[in-house]
């Protein structure tokens, strides 16, 4: 058993060792605190900082004296997250981890990851916690960058989806439009053919197939010249290849019993031509009706002409006194009746001329003659009319003798007579009619100008139509048939000539007729 002195020596040695251990531990803790790169602080259960390490000082900028004794939440951005996490660590007393924003002494905000680790004494009592603060600026930057990239990608994806949706919608709309257009084209009552810029047939509708009696599959994509051999294409292709411009309403008949009106228009996209559309309009029914009308008019006119001639001669005999003496008053009535009958005969003759023209039966008997003679003949026949209306006639004869022309004298006389009749009829009393004849190397030109009522501008395009009468002349004179200019135009054009006019309402009208001479006229003459 050791003595008291020995025990004292042992105790002193133990104490010395314990002191050395304590100092060693103190130094170790100090070194460790200095070395540890992670910012750490100890916090008591009341959330007051009780110790910090060097890294904490460096990260926060707060010295030991400034940090110790401070509430932990003071170094973080004030928000509910900080309070909640601090409450949480107090309650749960275990390890927690969260991201917070550290506010440094210089008021700089630094994103940090904060770990809380509860401390317990030997009896398991909660005595506070360690708090480790890890700077995650770079991580946050990277994270933010990634989030931005993800957002960009997400936005791009959304934008792409939107574009795709729009495209899909537009495609649907375009598809619907295309179907509608195709339905319209397919069911269109006119035949439609579309040739692309390489003159290949790229579209043909049902009506066109019916008109031309062709199988769509066989003709599609074929060049225009190859189409001749299919169905009734021949006459159509002839017109299309002969004409190089747009075509408007050219009549043709691909087969017996079918009359079509052909039009061709260029189709352009936004900038350039994309092809040509050929439209075939069925005019068979119109033609049939027209023919029936013509036949009816012809028949009626013929039937009317015989009794009208009988009436004419009977009236003539009465006027001449062949059937006995008539009183003056009776004679006046008979004369009026005779004139009316004459107008009716003229009308019937005009109608017959029209029907002949339309039926192609208006035969011509060309004779070599001078146009000057025909004009003079008509002037002579109009003298009484001119005198009755006190209209002055100016006749500008040609300087040189006109070349002779071979024309149907009767028809040309009729044509010029019609022009004279109109000039006199629609020129007020005391007016003036100027007739002129001249020629150059190519043509002989006849013109007749009046100082009459003129043709209203909006009606001038219809002047040569059948039964056309200007609105202003209908009020002025009720006798015209509206057939004279139609007949005149047909006569002149049948001779290879041209007819046109200038007119100003209220001022007067000038009609021009031109006959070709030289080669053109000689060629024309050979036809007779």
């Amino acid at each position: 058993m050791p003595s008291g002195k020995e025990e004292l020596i042992t105790l002193k040695e133990d104490l010395k060792k314990t002191k050395e251990d304590l100092f060693g531990l103190e130094g170790y803790i100090e070194e460790f605190s200095l070395f540890l790169p992670l910012a750490v602080c100890t916090v008591n259960p009341l959330h007051i900082i009780t110790n910090i390490n060097k890294a904490f000082e460096e990260l926060t900028g707060f010295s030991i004296n400034e940090s110790i004794g401070e509430a932990l939440e003071e170094i973080f951005k004030k928000d509910s997250k900080v309070k909640n996490i601090i409450k949480e660590i107090g309650k749960k007393k275990k390890t927690l981890e969260t991201e917070l924003t550290l506010i440094t002494k210089k008021k700089k905000e630094i994103p940090v990851k904060v770990s809380f680790s509860a401390r317990k004494d030997n009896e398991g009592n909660f005595i506070g916690y360690f708090t480790a603060i890890d700077e995650i600026v770079e991580l946050k930057k990277f994270q933010k960058g990634m989030e931005e990239k993800v957002k960009e990608l997400e936005d791009s994806r959304k934008a792409l989806f939107n574009i795709l949706e729009d495209i899909e919608e537009a495609r649907g709309v375009a598809e619907d439009e295309k179907n509608k257009t195709l339905a319209i084209i397919t069911n269109f009552t006119d035949g439609l053919l579309f040739f692309d810029t390489n003159n290949r047939l790229s579209l043909v509708n049902s009506q066109a197939k019916k008109f031309l009696k062709v199988n769509k599959e066989k003709i599609l994509k074929k060049p225009i010249l190859e189409l001749e051999k299919f169905g009734n294409f021949k006459s159509l292709i002839k017109i299309l290849t002969e004409e190089d411009k747009d075509i408007f309403r050219i009549e043709f008949s691909p087969r017996k019993g079918l009359a079509l009106e052909l039009s061709r228009v260029s189709i352009s996209g936004e900038e350039e031509k994309i092809g040509e559309l050929v439209i075939l309009h069925d005019i068979s029914r119109d033609k049939l009706i027209e023919r029936m009308k013509t036949e009816f008019v012809s028949l009626a006119a013929h039937q009317l002409r015989t009794p009208l001639s009988a009436i004419k001669w009977t009236l003539k005999m009465l006027l001449d006194g062949d059937l006995g003496k008539v009183t003056k008053e009776q004679k006046e009535f008979i004369e009026k009746t005779y004139n009316s009958n004459e107008r009716m005969i003229d009308l019937i003759n005009s109608l017959l001329n029209v029907t002949r023209i339309e039926e192609g039966r208006y035969l011509y008997k060309p004779t070599l003659t001078s146009l000057e003679n025909i004009v003079q003949f008509v002037i002579n026949s109009c003298e009484n009319q001119l005198e009755r209306k006190n209209i002055k006639l100016n006749y500008k004869k040609p300087d040189k003798k006109l070349p002779q022309v071979k024309v149907d004298i009767e028809k040309i006389r009729l044509a010029i007579q019609n022009l004279f009749d109109n000039a006199i009829r629609y020129t007020p009393k005391g007016g003036q009619v100027t007739v002129s004849l001249k020629h150059d190397k190519k043509e002989i030109e006849f013109s007749i100008a009046d100082t009459g009522v003129g043709v209203p501008e909006d009606q001038q395009s219809r002047v040569f139509s059948k039964f056309f009468r200007g609105a202003n002349v209908i009020r002025l004179d009720t006798e015209g048939s509206g057939l004279g200019l139609f007949i005149t135009k047909n006569i002149i054009e049948a001779h290879g000539g041209r007819i046109w006019f200038d007119s100003k309402e209220g001022k007067g009208t000038t009609f021009y007729i031109a006959f070709p001479i030289k080669k053109e006229f000689e060629e024309f003459l050979k036809k007779f």
């Binding site: 803790i29 259960p45 009341l46 110790n51 030991i64 005595i127």
Partner: protein, 193 residues
Amino acid sequence: MKKNLKKDLEKWIKIDGKMRGGFVVDYVLKKEGEEGLKKLKKRSEELKYDIPYGEAKATEWFPLGLNIVSHLLEVDTFNWSDEELRESGRDGAKTSFIVKLLMKFFVSLEKFVEKIPHYWEMYFTVGKLEVVNLDEKNRKLTLHLRGVRFPPSFLIVLEGFFQQMFEFVLGKGNVKESKFTIKENYYEYYAKW
């Protein structure tokens, strides 16, 4: 230099007992810088006091008299105000290794107050610190320190030290009043929060 400093130092060096830590240079460095510390060392050498500035271990025991001498030299050299003395006490509490070891008792006011006599013993081998009154309702506390004598300026340092210790459990700035009063046979510390 204070007129009777040398005499005072000679008186206080003889005081009984030991004290842990002390000679903490952090506050001197913070307030006066390296030059201030050099100045302090020089004066202690001139006066033949071997004070281990910056070398003492926090848990090592040193004569209480040497600690008091060191304190009086600081006061005389730097002419610190009461507030600066109080602040040095507060700083001491913040940086003391002993306080860190005691932190496990800083979990509540009740637990903290219960351990107050123990804290004194952790630092000093002489004197006793007793809790005379803890009035939690009216938020006040009275302590009596008996069996030891200190110069008044040292009591101001202790006042700052105690105040900081209280703030560890009450929160910063929550101690409204903290003071030492010199009584006939003891010192009385009063705190209100």
